[in-house]
């Protein structure tokens, strides 16, 4: 008897069996499980499911209350994240960006290190890394534990259950609602969270559209633009309301785009690939608060932060280099911004904004300081500024700089908000997409599809605004 005859024998025996012999295997297993269970378990007179679980489900998946609770909980998570992160972010920024940078500069000055090296390392690498830590660490340290507590409790699968119909309509899985929510914290985390979707087609849809959930790195851009441009359109009493409203509108547009693109993908490139829908509602379990705080800090916050920092450091170096290397009396940044200017004009933006997006691919957090720095150093020289040094300005100064040195209009601000929603994922996210899909094709699609949409949408709004004579 040799090995190949065993395989032949298996094939022969297989042909003799009924087509549904596989069903028989599972049936035998469950028959045995059932028998063992009936002799092992004894029920007392209480119902099989606690009234507590039933009551919770009745409330959390209720026609009206289900959505009210969902709205309040999710709004609460975001509110806590944004409001709670402001103070520690400011503190970290003062500590790392202002004091830290000054302290390091004084530390190396007696060492007579060449100026280009201190510029590259301190003004470039250190400052951008410090920026990313200051902007990202506090919101993530708040968002991830809150989210994890909801997850441990067993609530998140209920959200998928409540919203599934919306996603079913666009050919996606209800669990995409959950990876989207993770995406509001960080898209890289959101892409990893798509693992909960066990069918490949729906998972790819969720990966590609996760970028339309606005992440922590992008909220500040929206909030700043909403505050300094849109809020200024109305009397001061309503400014806050209009600013917040404009940010929420963009976030809502993101949900709309997610559903539309999901639908588009499932009708075109991702059509026909079969999938299996399955979702389980686990029993509610009391969350362990302290354990959760600890594990989510170690496992999620620090991991995502480490990846972001490894991306931000080289970006900082790149910003410093392009600002300080000069060719024919103009910095490399100047040449590049001039090169991108025509496309920038078409999109209702400008060359500097596009250049900032290119160098900030690794970490979206540094978009605003990069734009400010480039505008100051490449602009008409109205303000004194060191080239290649990322800086922080208050809202009022920012507006003055952008309007006077950068020539920004309302169209620039609105289109920047739209482009913030619709552009390529950050470097960390692209890397994560590749890790998760192991496919160059889908990583490329996930990278280029949003930026393509962004170019089309901003060009359209620019054309409409110009032909209507608004700008």
């Amino acid at each position: 008897m040799n090995r190949s005859t065993i395989l032949d024998e298996a094939a022969r025996l297989r042909a003799e069996l009924d087509d549904d012999f596989r069903d028989g295997i599972v049936e035998s297993l469950y028959a045995e499980s059932s028998r063992i269970t009936s002799t092992t378990l004894s029920h007392r007179d209480t119902p099989a499911r606690t009234t507590w679980d039933k009551l919770l489900d009745r409330a959390l998946t209720h026609r009206v209350w289900g959505f009210v609770v969902m709205g309040v909980l999710l709004f609460g998570v975001f509110w806590f994240t944004i409001a709670g992160a402001a103070a520690p972010s400011g503190l970290l920024s003062t500590l790392l960006v202002e004091h830290g940078h000054g302290w390091l500069t004084r530390l190396v000055s007696p060492l007579h290190v060449p100026e280009w090296l201190t510029g590259l390392l301190l003004d470039g690498v250190y400052l951008s890394t410090a920026w990313v830590v200051a902007v990202m660490l506090p919101p993530m340290a708040i968002f991830f534990p809150l989210f994890t507590i909801l997850e441990d409790f067993g609530y998140l699968p209920r959200v998928a259950f409540n919203l599934d119909r919306l996603f079913a309509g666009s050919g996606a899985h209800g669990k995409q609602a959950l990876s989207m929510m993770m995406g509001y914290g960080c898209n890289a985390a959101g892409v990893t969270a798509t693992r909960i979707i066990d069918s490949r087609r729906e998972r790819l849809i969720a990966v590609i559209t996760n970028n339309f959930s606005i992440c922590n790195g992008r909220w500040p851009v929206l909030i700043l633009m909403g505050t300094v441009f849109l809020g200024k359109l109305v009397p001061p009493a309503f400014a806050g309301l209009v600013a917040a409203g404009s940010v929420v509108t963009v976030a809502f547009l993101g949900v709309l785009v997610t559903l539309l693109v999901s639908w588009g993908l499932s009708k075109t490139v991702l059509r026909g690939e079969t999938s299996v829908y399955s979702l389980e509602l686990p029993p509610y379990r009391p969350p362990r608060i302290w354990w959760t705080l600890y594990t989510s800090l170690i496992d999620r916050t620090l991991k995502v932060l480490r990846r972001a920092v490894t991306m931000a450091a080289p970006a900082g170096a790149a910003i410093w280099v392009i600002s300080n290397v000069t060719i024919t009396e103009t910095s490399l940044a100047g040449h590049l911004a001039a090169l991108l200017a025509p496309l920038g004009w078409l999109m209702g933006l400008n060359g500097i904004i596009l250049l900032a997006y290119v160098v900030a691919i690794p970490a979206n957090e540094i978009i605003i300081p990069t734009i400010l720095m480039l505008t100051l150093t490449l602009g008409p020289g109205l303000f004194a500024a060191d080239s290649g040094v990322l800086l922080e300005l208050g809202a009022a100064e920012t507006r003055t700089v952008l309007v006077r040195a950068g020539g920004w209009t309302l169209l620039t601000a609105v289109n920047l908000m739209l482009f913030t929603l619709l552009h390529n994922p950050c470097g960390t996210t692209i890397l994560t997409i590749w890790h998760e899909t192991r496919s160059v094709k889908w990583t490329t699609v996930a990278t280029l599809l949003p930026v393509g949409l962004g170019i089309v949408v901003t060009s359209l709004t620019a054309a409409v605004a110009r032909s209507a004579g608004w700008v």
Binding site: F21, A48, D299
Partner: protein, 276 residues
């Protein structure tokens, strides 16, 4: 001694020697460099599988409350009674029969990774569904300890589980526990130790197929496999995979790597012998 009469660490006689003895457990965290024993942790999603894994290794690894969250295999280590264990957390799966990526990882590790022992975590409140996986694992390996988790939840739901009876039915030790509170951890460690040291001989339940023709086909192939690969413990399960034309198992038969599995069951004698 068999699992049926000892019920592992759950019997009072054995419990005495291990209770208040958690100092025997040394958590080695993430780097299980140099180990004597490889133990796998398997189970359905949402059974507290990762809580058991974390409690044993002290590795704070979070895993969410739904299926498919642990896709990558996590590893950790601990030391118990002078043996160094490498613990491998397998993805939570409902089955080892269908075609999902998670199930392939779990199945391949159980078959080809040759763990010295496998802890199967079972949710006491969903016993019937979870036993399906236990019975499948018992077709691959005998060296199993069943961690009957969430017995407090079961209690709350008005369910009483007779763990001794379950151990008799399955032919392997069954340890009732509440992993999130650490209840039953010592007993679990002791049961694992006894299976590893050979103090308990497990005789895992082998499910007979109700379809006669299938049963005959499995027996026939199984005999041939035993002749070709003497010492391979799970020929019935391999026969079943061959009937289902599982490419991974077909390859292992064709290139002879299946024969190497026969060494998996042999284990070096424990240092210092059996402590009980």
């Amino acid at each position: 001694m068999t699992a049926a009469d000892s019920s592992a660490g759950t019997s009072p006689a054995c419990g005495d020697c291990v209770l208040n003895n958690v100092s025997n457990l040394r958590e080695l965290g993430v780097s299980p460099a140099g180990h004597d024993i490889v133990a796998a942790v398997a189970g359905n999603p949402n059974t507290g599988k990762s809580t058991v894994f974390n409690a044993l290794t002290g590795l704070r690894r979070h895993v969410g409350n739904w299926s498919g969250k642990t896709v990558d295999r996590a590893e950790g280590g601990f030391e118990y009674r002078r043996r160094r264990y490498k613990l491998v957390d397998l993805p939570g799966t409902h089955s080892l029969l269908s075609t999902s990526h998670d199930e392939d990882i779990a199945r391949d590790f159980l078959l080809f990774g040759r763990p010295d022992t496998t802890v199967v975590v079972v949710d006491a409140t969903r016993l019937e569904r979870d036993l399906n996986l236990v019975l499948q694992i018992l077709q691959i390996t005998d060296r199993v300890v069943c961690a009957l988790n969430l017995v407090d939840e079961a209690e709350r739901n008005g369910l009483a589980v007779d763990s001794r009876h379950l151990a008799r039915e399955l032919g392997v030790p069954v340890v009732p526990m509440v992993a999130r509170r650490g209840t039953g951890m010592t007993e679990l460690l002791e049961a694992v130790e006894q299976v590893v040291s050979g103090a308990i001989t497990t005789r895992g339940k082998r499910v007979q197929h109700r379809d006669n023709r299938l049963e005959q086909a499995v027996s026939r192939l199984s005999e041939q496999l035993e002749r070709e690969f003497p010492g391979v413990a799970n020929t019935r399960w391999i026969a079943l995979r061959l009937l289902e034309a599982d490419p991974r198992v077909e390859r292992a038969v064709a290139d002879g790597t299946l024969g190497e599995l026969s060494t998996a069951a042999t284990l070096a004698a424990p240092p210092g012998g059996n402590t009980t």
